[in-house]
């Protein structure tokens, strides 16, 4: 018996090992949301991020000079913009007072630097140098001056991993800013798309797309991109859109984590609806 097993092993060991390892990989795929898996991953990436951060700082020193110049230019542009916005702000508050509306929105922005990027075809992630010590939590939206970047996926003490718009597992409810039509935005490996919109949806090329308040994670409209193309407008029952993001996923270096978390009360109400049909 032992000899038989040994013979099988020596003849087919490559295949046996392959099958075992592939099965382990497939099992791992199902354990992604397991608590202990998350803990191990948090530990692994936070340990690695320390080295990443050191290397990143070293590489970035060489870019500081040119970056300072462009920042100075941007600063002057922003000063002009601020004076304009201040005017609009005063006018806005006067108009709000007239109709008795109060501005109650105050959002915390946590600035972070991207210390490493992973360019997998459909699993692109960023690691940023702020974590739960800086009040970052899983699910918080991440953006920069141009627009929406992604969502915080895991958080360690000093580092966090962001699933960005080039990650096929990131799905966000978005809406057309003009027509208010809603859809689910996702990365299909080649481009950002909103699929299965009815033919009657009023959407034009060039429309701005923002995050929708319907989302349980992002309750404010953050600019995402513009409609670049409507696919197959003549065929089928549904339309698909190609969205061009405002934020450049390849060039982005500095981001802000928006201090928004899940709408717990809202979620509980939604869950009640399912619990008590």
């Amino acid at each position: 018996m032992f000899r038989f097993i040994r013979e099988i092993w020596s003849n087919f060991k490559e295949y046996i090992v392959l099958v075992i390892l592939l099965v382990i990989s497939l099992i791992s795929l199902t354990l992604n949301d397991h608590q202990s898996t998350k803990k191990i991953r948090t530990f692994a990436f936070s340990s690695f991020s320390v080295i990443s951060s050191l290397l990143h700082d070293y590489i970035k020193i060489s870019d500081v000079k040119s970056e300072n110049e462009s920042l100075r230019r941007k600063n002057s542009e922003l000063i002009l913009e601020i004076s304009k916005l201040r005017d609009f702000g005063i006018l806005n508050s006067q108009l709000k007072n007239l109709i008795n509306l109060r501005d109650t929105l105050h959002y915390k922005l946590y600035p972070g630097t991207i210390v490493s990027k992973t360019f997998a075809a459909s699993q692109s992630t960023f690691t940023i140098n702020i974590g739960y010590k800086d009040s970052v939590k899983v699910g918080m939206p991440v953006l920069n001056g141009d627009g929406f970047i992604g969502l915080v996926n895991s958080v360690a003490e000093d580092y966090s991993i962001i699933r960005n718009l080039h990650n096929s597992n990131l799905k966000v409810i978005v809406k057309d800013e003009r027509s208010r039509f809603q859809g689910i935005l996702r990365w299909n490996g080649s481009y950002l798309t909103v699929t299965n919109l009815p033919k009657t949806a009023d959407i034009n090329v060039g429309d701005r797309v923002v995050t929708s308040e319907l989302s349980s994670l992002i309750s404010i409209p953050i600019p995402v991109g513009i409609v670049k193309e409507v696919l197959n407008p003549e065929k089928g029952y549904f339309n698909d859109l190609i969205i061009e993001p405002f934020a450049d996923m390849y060039g982005v270096e500095y981001v802000f984590v928006l201090g928004l978390t899940k709408k717990v009360v809202n979620n509980n109400i939604e869950m009640n609806f399912y619990r008590n049909p």
Binding site: K13, E14, V17, L18, L21, L22, I24, S25, L26, I27, S28, L29, T30, L31, N32, T37, I40, R41, A44, F45, F48, I51, S52, L55, H56, I59, S116, K117, T118, F119, A120, A121, S122, Q123, S124, T125, T127, N153, S154, I161, R163, H166, S168, N169, W187, N188, G189, S190, T195, D240, M249, Y250
Partner: protein, 162 residues
């Protein structure tokens, strides 16, 4: 365990750092070479299919944990890649592989298989165009990676140190 068998793991971490820091700088429109796959194919051609399968699994495991991607996706694809690369292993032709065009060609084939496997696991749905998938996520990264392999072919020492 022989030192020869642990050596690739020692090379793996610097290559992983290069993959994360250097590769984004040379990526073109998101098309990036896969240095880890180059390392995997290199040591599979040196040590054989059994070794390549296990080494692929270990590389994928570390990469999955560190990158924050879907756990298991890289493990699956790299294990498969190591196994397939093992079919090109020939004890008598090891050096010949690295001194000729066969190493870049093998890497091209393996990268295409690897990229398509990852895409199928992580982002495949009914709307996916197979030709686009093959071209953008398989062929282009494959060509880029195999182009870099020519450096290995060019600088491969007459006497093996690595």
């Amino acid at each position: 365990m022989k030192f020869e068998q642990i050596k690739p793991l020692i090379f793996f971490f610097p290559i992983l750092l290069l993959q994360i820091f250097f590769v984004p700088l040379i990526s073109i429109e998101g098309i990036a070479p896969d240095l880890i796959l180059m390392l995997l194919v290199f040591y599979t051609l040196k040590n054989g299919q059994f070794y390549g399968t296990i080494f692929g699994f270990v590389c994928g495991l570390f990469f999955d944990f560190i990158s924050g991607g879907i756990l298991g996706s890289m493990m699956f694809s790299k294990t498969l890649s190591g196994f397939i690369a093992g079919y090109f292993f020939n004890e008598n032709k090891t050096d010949l592989h690295f001194k000729s065009f066969s190493y870049p060609m093998i890497v091209l084939l393996i990268t295409i298989i690897d990229s398509i496997t990852i895409s199928l696991i992580t982002s495949f749905d009914i709307n996916t165009n197979i030709i686009t998938l093959f071209f953008y996520q398989g062929l282009l990264p494959g060509l880029y990676t195999s182009a870099l392999c020519f450096f290995v072919t060019f600088f491969y020492p007459k006497r093996s140190y690595i």
